[in-house]
């Protein structure tokens, strides 16, 4: 548990937000597979059982559908449950509950019911987890009216956004990335809630806007450093919340820089980035000086072999190439 103004890892920041909510509010509890004694597959809930007991830190059977359905029921009856889905790949098993119930009960009851449920999950490539344990699925849910989708890239954002997710009266899908868990950041003692639907400018620049989410925010910042040494000034915008989306922040940045690159680790084709590109061309057409560049994974199940995985998934080099293409400069790769 954090001391006064400590450096927290992304993992600890998530745990901190949950623990604070559970201390402050008896309606908040957490359910998931192996989250109690074992502390969860990524140790995010480590030691929470000792503090809050088995009634509030509950191991669940291996049934994502049952787990999600139980969470929805508890939420509709006034609790603020947090459900941990071990891998975001396993959302497939809870799809009926998520899409047809969590997303729609409030609407179909004319507002008589609410579903203040938070579903935390994690995933991502970079450790040869292969095709069923390393996908990025956030883009599947942004097109379901009634669901909110949050994807923090830093410890500060993870803590502040998870708090706001728990206290949102709608179902929120909260995506964590496995490669970010050990990322550390100095955080104040006071938890600062971050409102959903507010983007963050991670770096200011003049020539190109990179709209990036999750780990690609960090890849974009590294690419921006590299482009900076070529005399290209890059602005990096992290939407943080994908649904609802802070359209104004993205558009304001593109209207300033006149060029836009969108970047995520999920598959590029038909991805969330396509929606960003559409937004930019619809709302900022007359400000664009180049086509919107898209960076994302190749259209393939995620390969197991490390070299193939690296080839499929975008990192700094791919973001850099897109930046340079956007400003009309050739890179060695072309």
């Amino acid at each position: 548990m954090p001391e006064n103004g400590t450096r927290l890892s992304y993992r600890e920041a998530v745990r901190d937000a949950m623990s604070r909510a559970m201390r402050a509010d008896p309606d908040v509890f957490i359910m998931g597979q192996d989250i109690a004694e074992h502390g969860g597959s990524q140790k995010v809930t480590l030691d929470m059982l000792e503090e809050f007991g088995p009634e509030r830190v509950r191991n669940a059977p291996i049934s994502e559908m049952a787990l999600t359905g139980a969470g929805i029921g508890a939420a509709m009856l006034g609790m603020r449950p947090i459900v941990e889905i071990m891998y975001e790949d396993f959302f497939t098993l809870a799809m009926e509950q998520l899409v047809n119930h969590a997303a729609k009960e409030r609407y179909m009851s004319g507002g008589q019911l609410k579903v203040p449920l938070t579903l935390r999950t994690q995933g991502g490539a970079g450790w040869s987890s292969a095709a069923q344990h390393g996908q990025q699925t956030e883009g599947w849910f942004v097109g379901v009216p009634g669901l909110k989708v949050v994807y923090p890239s830093t410890p500060r954002d993870a803590r502040g956004l998870l708090w706001s997710s728990i206290y949102d009266d709608n179902c929120v899908l909260f995506f964590e990335h496995v490669q970010l868990y050990n990322l550390r950041e100095q955080l104040p003692e006071e938890l600062e809630p971050i409102p959903l639907g507010k983007a963050r400018v991670a770096r200011e620049g003049e020539d190109v806007t990179v709209v990036a989410i999750g780990p690609l925010v960090h890849e974009a910042l590294a690419a921006a450093d590299q482009a900076g040494s070529d005399g290209i000034s890059v602005e990096v915008v992290d939407p943080r919340t994908l649904q609802p989306l802070d359209e104004e922040a993205i558009l304001a940045s593109v209207r300033k820089t006149n060029r836009c690159v969108v970047a995520h680790e999920a598959v590029r084709k038909m991805g969330f980035g396509a929606e960003l590109a559409a937004l930019v061309q619809e709302q900022a057409f007359d400000w664009l000086d180049a086509p919107v560049e898209r960076v994302g994974a190749a259209f393939t199940p995620l390969p197991f072999a490390p070299v193939l995985e690296r080839a499929a998934v975008p990192r700094r080099e791919e973001v850099y190439a897109a930046i340079m293409h956007s400003v009309g400069r050739r890179t060695d790769g072309e």
Binding site: N258, F285, D286, W287, L288, D289, A290, G328
Partner: protein
């Protein structure tokens, strides 16, 4: 698909170039990187390499001026078709001297002028331009057909519109005047560049400082050096002493060896002095690099060589860009002193006149001394009068006591 050979932007601020001649005939094979044609820009003439390999299918611009981004030829596979419109596109010739002079209606004349010889669009082809470039052109009432595109596949981007709208449209082939009438001389690309840059420079809040240097010692030293110079070595001139004196003074006052960037002043560690040179094509400023590290003899031979290549039009583009300070001299025309206009983004320029013998009051008497008048123009945004005065004093000091330059 045959690939287009587009007129490249070879240097900052280049808007157009003149195709001088083709080094390959239509139907001849060319390899990527092989010299394909000679291009005359507002600064130099140089060979330009083919961007791709194949057969030179079609020369669109055989000779004459074209804007950056214009398709001037097609390279592709043998027998491949080039776009229909390409063959219809011919370059406008430069002014036809001695052509008969019809009386143009005033409106028509101005509409002709608006178009200009470099604005020949390929008939029926949609102009590729970014949305931002289109909006800027619309706002400024600029026809995109007249703008060369520097983006991928010749797309016109915002920067191209910015360039085009700060430039006066080039006059078209206006007929020569009737005897005793008025002659319109269309601007050459050198003249246009001079006009644009000096108009920009005129916006700067500039001030001038004037001082006279007694050149007795420099003249004596030059005579001795000339007597002792080995056979065949370059002659050292007053200009070389002046360059050396400025270089040393600029090292001492680095705030003057600087560029104005709008939001910052860029100080340069290397003293790269532009030597304003009058050529047949207009004023050109070749740059002598790292003057602070060169001896007087090295400066003399480097300057002579650079100036002669500039006069011949064979200096490379990068030798004509990127100076940090400029010296301009009209002494050879018996001008005694004059005020130079800044050469942006440089923040200072030194104008020198002829060395003239004048009476000088000294120790209660009058002596005759050879004086050189130095007039320094400075950009007040970047440098204050006192610093400029100290710098000018240092130049004067080095000229009056050239031994201090050792």
């Amino acid at each position: 698909m045959a690939s287009e050979v587009k007129l490249p932007r070879l240097g900052q601020g280049m808007e157009s170039g003149v195709v001088v001649r083709w080094l390959k005939q239509e139907g001849e094979r060319v390899a990527a990187g092989e010299p394909l044609y000679e291009l005359d820009t507002d600064k130099v003439t140089q060979e330009v390499e083919s961007p791709s390999s194949g057969v030179l299918l079609k020369i669109v611009v055989a000779e004459g001026e074209a804007t950056v981004g214009t398709t001037i030829a097609y390279v592709g596979e043998e027998g491949e078709q080039v776009p229909e419109a390409a063959s219809a596109t011919a370059t406008a010739p430069s002014v036809e001297a001695g052509a008969p002079a019809p009386e143009p209606e005033p409106e028509r004349a101005s509409s002709v002028v608006e178009k200009g010889p470099e604005t020949v669009p390929v008939a029926g082809e949609r102009v590729k331009a970014s949305p931002l470039a289109r909006r800027l052109a619309r706002e400024r009432g600029l026809a995109l057909e007249g703008v060369g595109g520097s983006g991928p596949e010749g797309r016109i981007v915002a920067e191209d519109v910015e360039h085009a709208s700060t430039r006066r449209p080039a006059p078209s082939a206006v007929p020569a005047p009737a005897p005793g009438g008025i002659e319109r001389v269309p601007l050459t690309s050198v003249r246009r560049t001079i006009a644009r840059r000096l108009t920009e420079a005129w916006q700067a809040p500039a001030f001038q400082l004037t001082a006279s240097a007694d050149m007795s010692e420099v003249l004596r030293l030059r005579e001795r050096l000339r007597e002792r110079a080995p056979e065949g070595s370059g002659r050292i001139s007053i200009a070389d002493f002046l360059t050396k004196a400025c270089a040393l003074a600029l090292v001492r006052y680095p705030g003057v060896n600087a560029l104005w960037l709008g939001d910052a002043v860029e100080l340069h560690g290397s003293v790269d002095i532009g030597i304003a040179t009058t050529t047949e094509r207009g004023l050109i400023v070749p740059v002598l690099r790292s003057c602070e590290r060169r001896t007087l003899a090295e400066l003399a031979s480097a300057r002579a060589e650079l100036v002669s290549r500039t006069l011949a039009g064979t200096a490379a583009l990068d030798e004509l860009e990127g100076g940090t300070f400029t010296i301009t001299n009209l002494g050879t025309f018996a001008v005694e002193q004059f005020v130079a206009v800044l050469n942006p983004p440089q923040i200072a320029i030194l104008a020198t006149g002829a060395i003239v013998e004048r009476p000088v009051a000294r120790a209660g008497g009058v002596e005759i001394a050879p004086l050189l008048t130095l007039t320094l123009t400075c950009d007040h945004r970047a440098v204050d009068g006192s610093v400029a005065a100290e710098f000018l004093g240092a130049v004067r000091g080095f000229l009056e006591e050239p031994g201090l330059m050792l």
